[in-house]
């Protein structure tokens, strides 16, 4: 596992994982938003790679993808944003999240090399399940980049070992069967899922999809190793554009306070 990702999940409190789409609203605006997310207290950054056909995403992140692509965001811009982030924040783990085609179009080795050179710690690819691992997994592992897989409510115990085989960094538990940014899952179902997942793996488990507020994030952090927030941040960017820096910092700070202190309340 990448040293930065291991460290992020070994701070003695649950980790806050924050997502923002690269190039939204413009490539030039992304660095300041990433800095605001770090300043707000996020432990892991997910940088979304925009795609024309984001099939697993709800309206918020779909719109972000369109804004980013409409602003002319290219893969080269995303890699430059990552490279510059790494220079400014040597210790904060950075994960690229997106869809298979933009990641593999130049070949998986090309992508793994470029991501590695940009200081990327992990990759989440929504539409490459373990069954198609050769498309991307071997190239990432050869470069020491974590392949972060998704587990969902439909991933039953028989299938879980298949998902975990080749996963590293952390496991991203999608708490609802659905797309990003919609409903939140009931905390009881998340607790049950955590018990099941933690019994099957030693890697950290972060929970996402439908988590928008500190009030939702806190209870999840009591039972999970991390909480992922995406659409709520992306909505602020949609609303405020390049002026979203302060609102994003404030939201992340409130989420971080809830997530980082969750276990204290539980005691």
């Amino acid at each position: 596992m990448s040293a930065r990702l291991s460290a992020a999940f070994a701070k003695g409190h649950p980790a806050l994982v924050c997502f923002v789409t690269a190039g939204d609203p413009t490539p030039d605006a992304t660095p300041a938003l990433l800095d605001a997310i770090v300043a707000g207290g996020a432990d892991v950054i997910e940088l979304g790679m925009p795609f024309t056909d984001p099939m697993a995403d709800g309206p918020a992140i779909q719109a972000a993808n369109l804004r980013a692509l409409g602003a002319g965001t290219k893969t080269a811009d995303i890699l430059r944003i990552a490279t510059d982030f790494r220079a400014r924040h040597p210790q904060v783990p950075l994960v690229l999240m997106g869809y298979a085609n933009p990641m593999t179009i130049r070949g998986s080795e090309w992508f793994a090399d470029a991501a590695s050179a940009a200081g990327v710690d992990g990759v989440i690819c929504v539409d490459i399940p373990p069954e198609e691992d050769p498309e991307l997994g071997p190239a990432l592992r050869a470069k020491g980049i974590d392949l972060i897989r998704l587990a969902t409510p439909t991933t039953d115990s028989a299938r879980l070992p298949t998902v975990l085989d080749g996963s590293s960094g952390f496991l991203y538990y999608v708490s609802v069967a659905g797309i990003t940014g919609k409903q939140a899952a009931a905390i009881s179902s998340i607790k049950d899922a955590m018990d099941r997942l933690k019994a099957a793996t030693d890697i950290p488990v972060a929970v996402g999809f439908g988590v928008r507020t500190p009030e939702q994030a806190g209870p999840i952090a009591r039972v999970a190793d991390g909480v992922v927030v995406g659409s709520a941040i992306v909505d602020l960017v949609g609303q405020h554009g390049a002026d979203a820096v302060e609102p994003v910092r404030a939201l992340v700070a409130s989420l971080a306070a809830a997530v980082h202190s969750a276990r204290e309340h539980a005691a």
Partner: protein, 404 residues
């Protein structure tokens, strides 16, 4: 049991759903368990004589199969070369080949205990066929259709509603077929417990390309037997239009190991291959979209481009993965014809044979028009007439400068 022929072109895909380098199962984890269930259930259905018997019975008595094999004398005479024959799948119930696949998939859905059906549609033919089988079996049906297509295909929207379907206009992206498919996948991922997704073409994650091909292969099986019975020989050339490619693979697949039979798939060249078009093989390269790896229209970063064709049914930036494989191994030739050539083909068939074709097979007719004169008079071309043109008369009128 006969030993498998290692050189057969008919033994794809492999057990992981790969047609050579193409196909596969590129879906989100939420869908993966269901895709595996569907695959297992399809294997059982394929081996179950009762399933096949019900499928055959519905095709005969509900769809109206077998469709005729028709020799086109005046078109043949006008073109002055090969004999031109048509497989008349436009005479099916609902007016196109799409119903063959919908019958098969809804039987699978019922077998799997699913109680809600969703589908995507472009021109509306697959939406109408899906709404039809849902009415026939009493299942609720939601059809996703790009808002642009809803506007330009009003008659089919009304048909779907008459049949009891809910038609959801999709506002995302360019508001056409590709976006409708994205939205159907989003619905499916959120309702995976009770919902079956009837995909309309031989594309998507495994096992869809295989099962759609199998259900559509009734076209080629019938045509092969009919041609042998009528002429005592096999055709020299098969021709079919290609969007996703379900009518073409349905015609081609039963002939793939007949080495004397050449095959020609016809993509939509739109305004021309140097302008906006929907010819994924001619103008695209391999990539991953909608659950499979195949030739796609895309930019250098892998962002998907919009297709354009006068035919909304061909207006898709991808193609079924088996066609990508058949092209790369060289078994099938692929060409393309423009919107204008397709309009000429449309009028040619109206005038010479008294058949108003859909704009999709008008592309095949345009290709026949080019190739028939180059072939000897004792040779045989068999083209798939996969849909009738009632739905297209408004589009054609507009392009001919006629106001209705």
């Amino acid at each position: 049991m006969t030993a498998p022929n290692p050189n057969s072109f008919r033994n794809q895909p492999d057990e992981r759903g790969h047609f050579g380098a193409f196909g596969g199962r590129y879906v989100a984890e939420t869908l993966m368990p269901l895709i595996l269930d569907l695959d297992a259930e399809y294997r059982k259905a394929k081996a179950d004589p009762a399933f096949q018997a019900e499928f055959d019975d519905l095709l005969e008595h509900y769809v109206g199969r077998p469709s005729p094999l028709y020799f086109a004398p005046r078109l043949t005479e006008e073109l002055g070369g090969a004999q031109v024959w048509f497989k008349r799948d436009e005479l099916n119930h609902t007016g196109a080949h799409k119903i063959n696949n919908c019958i098969g998939q809804i039987l699978l859905a019922i077998r799997m205990g699913k109680t809600r059906i969703i589908a995507e549609t472009g021109a509306g033919q697959h939406g109408v066929a899906t709404a039809t089988v849902c009415a026939r079996f009493g299942l609720p049906c939601v059809i996703y259709m790009g808002a642009t297509d809803v506007e330009r295909q009003q008659p089919n929207v009304f048909r779907m509603k008459l049949l009891g379907a809910e038609v959801v206009p999709v506002q995302a992206g360019a508001k056409t077929l590709k976006d409708a498919m994205n939205e159907a996948l989003r619905d499916w991922v959120a309702n995976v417990h009770d919902t079956f997704y009837i995909i309309g073409t031989a594309a998507g994650p495994h096992p869809y390309p295989e099962l759609v091909r199998d259900f559509q292969s009734v076209i080629g099986r019938e045509a092969r037997a009919q041609m042998l019975a009528r002429t005592g020989r096999l055709p020299d050339l098969l021709v079919a239009a290609i969007g996703g490619g379900s009518n073409a693979i349905g015609l081609f697949h039963p002939f793939l190991d007949d080495t004397s039979v050449r095959m020609l798939g016809v993509e939509a060249a739109g305004y021309g291959l140097d302008k906006d078009h929907a010819a994924s093989l001619a103008g695209g390269r391999p990539g991953i979209l909608h659950g499979n790896k195949t030739y796609l229209l895309q930019d250098e970063d892998g962002q998907i481009l919009e297709g354009h064709s006068i035919s909304a049914g061909l207006d898709y930036p991808g193609i079924g993965p088996e066609h990508s494989w058949l092209r790369d191994v060289g078994r099938v030739d692929y060409t393309s014809v423009t919107d204008d050539e397709a309009l000429d083909g449309f009028q040619l068939l109206c005038r010479t044979e008294g058949i108003i074709p859909a704009l999709e097979p008008s592309h095949a007719i345009a290709a026949v028009k080019k190739v028939a004169p180059t072939m000897p008079k004792d040779s045989i071309i068999l083209a798939n007439l996969c849909g009738r043109g009632d739905k297209d008369i408004f589009t054609v009128a507009k392009h001919l400068g006629v106001s209705l």
